[in-house]
């Protein structure tokens, strides 16, 4: 498998984007957006993570098998989060059902 050399300017651009997004995160944290503070911060974090995975880890040109394993990793993280939240978000749901 041949590896193409990624131009330095691509890395520099991604690095710049990550710095800009970090600055955005800090700036947004100063605003009073209520629960949207959290949503904005997490959205920016996901975008930054995607940039790192796609460009610094060069997954956009990786084989299907590599992509499958990375997808599996995120799927496993999703399992952890979804089932964790299935507890935290459902506390008290069934408390008022007397026949249970």
């Amino acid at each position: 498998m041949s590896h193409q050399v990624v131009p330095v300017k691509v890395y520099a651009a991604i690095f710049g984007a990550l710095l800009a997004l970090t600055a955005t995160t800090v700036a947004v944290s100063k605003l009073e957006l209520g629960e949207y503070n959290f949503i904005v911060a997490m959205t920016i974090a996901v975008i930054k993570g995607t940039l790192v995975v796609m460009f610094f880890m060069d997954v956009r040109r990786a084989s299907s098998m590599t992509k499958l394993f990375i997808g599996a990793g995120f799927f496993w993280l999703a399992i952890l989060l979804v089932f964790l939240l299935s507890d935290y978000l459902s506390r008290g749901w069934l408390l008022n059902i007397h026949w249970l």
């Binding site: 089932f83 964790l84 299935s86 507890d87 935290y88 459902s90 749901w93 069934l94 249970l100």
Partner: protein
């Protein structure tokens, strides 16, 4: 036995054992077989250290008033659990038999990353040193589960050292899993398609997935525990703003799948043994292969059954209970298929097969009592009682250790080039089976009657069953010591083994000398038949 051999063999061929004798050739070895032996000796040492703590506990429980203080007893069961789980059971079969056999079974010269393989052993040893240091400094008293906030805020013992040992040794587990996944994907011999892989390989592949995906979570959980203990970060301790149930979620997200890290390689060994000593192909190869993957996947969505009485929501408990029942299906498929394999087979009763029989019976009891615990109403009654202790020892010791012993005996001729004394081995296998049941079956009754785990003292009415359990433990200990002696003896003085003493199928037996040369095969093996082709027929097995 042929009494008239044509030529006396005067010179031993070069193999991985006699290729070099210096200490550097072992401590800097990149040969997967030598690294497997490094692991074998290390985990055996940890097994006996962990076993010593168990002996001390059983002696304490001979009488209701015990001989140790509560604090000492807390440390005994904690160190027993930590050492047995993280330093014996998790690495046991993958790091020893898996390391030795995965490349040989797929027709490769070594694992994909030999140096990383050696690194994993060093990491394991460093982790072990941290944990043993905690032992020698006075031990840890949190239980192997490290539940917060006791572990993070209140325990006065060496929690950080022990947690650091687990954190470090986890990387050893990840590296071994990574190595296996890449090796199985990339280094199979010509003709070794996925459909022809021995089930030992499928089992190790599934195990490796859990190791790679699950272990980072326990590592980060230990880091969070350390952050709270040292910096009072407020993650798990309610008085600092944390949530203790979050610790249990994160801990069991790894530690329940870890049960399958322990048992899947055991199942992998049993598949090989049952096929060989029944002289038949495994019944339903595809089902057994895919059930390993199914167990690996399901293993990650059942952890909440450890939290039924911890304050977890009722809805989440119902979901986790449902999935816990589901995991019984692939496990049962395996047991039924091994049984069906033996049906009309030409069964012989050599030692590995005795251990396989033991595994099937004891694992089935362990698995079925797991269904009791997945049922919320029963679990509330028996939570934190000896019923739970008996259940997981039936899986871990009755299942996993039986498989480990069976595997060690099955491949001992391949590993050492020698034959072990069959009579002694059968005697020890029967001792292990009898001793095990006498130790742990009474604990089911004790638990059902309400004796809680982790208590140094107990009411007098529980004494008879506890005496039975301790008596069984002494028999079990003897059953483990005897193989240590005769295997050590056979390694040096046992009769030389022919290449394939069991007439087993598989590249490691049929196409590699015994003991194997450094690079396993004299010629590149080419696979032309399905696995377990004991009937000699050229029938291809289709998956799915």
């Amino acid at each position: 036995m042929n009494a008239t051999l044509p030529f006396a063999q005067t010179e031993t061929p070069i193999n991985y054992l006699n290729a070099d004798y210096g200490w550097k050739s072992w401590l800097f070895a990149t040969d997967h077989k030598r690294i497997a032996l490094l692991y074998l000796f290390s985990i055996t040492a940890f097994f006996f250290v962990g076993g010593a703590f168990a002996v001390a506990m059983r002696i304490n429980l001979l009488t209701p008033e015990g001989i140790f203080s509560h604090d000492t007893y807390n440390k005994l069961f904690t160190m027993h659990g930590i050492i047995m789980v993280f330093f014996f059971l998790v690495p046991s079969i993958p790091a020893t038999l898996g390391n030795f056999l995965v490349p040989m079974m797929i027709g490769a010269r070594d694992l994909a990353f030999p140096r990383i393989n050696l690194l994993s052993w060093y990491i394991y040893i460093v982790g072990g040193i941290f944990t043993l240091t905690a032992v020698f400094q006075g031990g840890v008293d949190t239980g192997w589960t490290f539940y917060a906030p006791f572990s993070s805020s209140y325990s006065n013992t060496h929690v950080i050292l022990a947690a650091l040992g687990i954190f470090v040794s986890g990387f050893s587990s990840i590296l071994t899993g990574l190595n296996f996944i890449v090796t199985i994907h990339k280094m199979r011999a010509p003709g070794m398609t996925w459909n022809r892989l021995p089930l030992f390989i499928w089992g190790h592949y599934a195990t490796s997935l859990i190791q790679v995906l699950g272990t980072p979570v326990i590592a980060i959980t230990m880091v969070l525990l350390g952050l709270e203990r040292v910096l009072h970060a407020g993650i798990f301790d309610p008085t600092l703003g944390g949530d203790p149930i979050l610790f249990q979620h994160l801990f069991w997200f790894y530690s329940h799948p870890a049960v399958y890290i322990m048992i899947l390689p055991g199942m992998a060994v049993i598949s090989e043994i049952v096929a060989c000593f029944s002289r038949k192909a495994i019944f339903g190869y595809g089902f057994v292969a895919y059930s390993s993957i199914a167990i690996a996947v399901f293993s990650f969505i059942v952890w909440g059954h450890h939290l039924f009485v911890s304050g977890q929501s009722m809805y989440a408990s119902m979901v986790f209970s449902f999935f816990s029942f589901l995991v019984a299906i692939p496990s049962a498929i395996k047991v039924f298929n091994w049984t069906a394999t033996m049906y009309k087979g030409s069964i012989s009763y050599e030692t590995p097969m005795l251990y396989a029989f033991g595994f099937m019976g004891l694992f089935t009891i362990g698995g079925l009592t797991g269904l009791f615990l997945a049922t919320m109403a029963i679990d509330v009654h028996v939570t934190d009682t000896y019923f739970v202790i008996a259940h997981f020892h039936y899986v871990m010791v009755g299942g996993m250790v039986m498989a480990y012993m069976g595997g060690i005996h099955f491949w001992f001729p391949k590993i050492s080039g020698r034959l072990y004394p069959e009579g002694w081995a059968k005697f020890a296998a029967l001792l292990v089976f009898a001793g095990f049941n006498l130790t742990f079956f009474p604990q089911f009754i004790l638990g059902y009657q309400g004796m809680p785990r982790r208590y140094a003292h107990y009411p007098p009415e529980f004494q008879v069953l506890n005496v039975m359990s301790t008596a069984g433990a002494s028999i079990l200990a003897l059953g483990y010591l005897i193989p240590m002696i005769y295997l050590a003896w056979a390694w040096r003085y046992g009769p030389k083994s022919p290449q394939n003493p069991w007439n087993a199928k598989g590249l490691e037996w049929e196409q590699s000398p015994t003991p194997p040369p450094t690079f396993n095969f004299e010629h590149q093996p080419v696979v032309t038949e399905p696995a377990y082709n004991y009937s000699g027929e050229e029938q291809e097995v289709k998956l799915g």
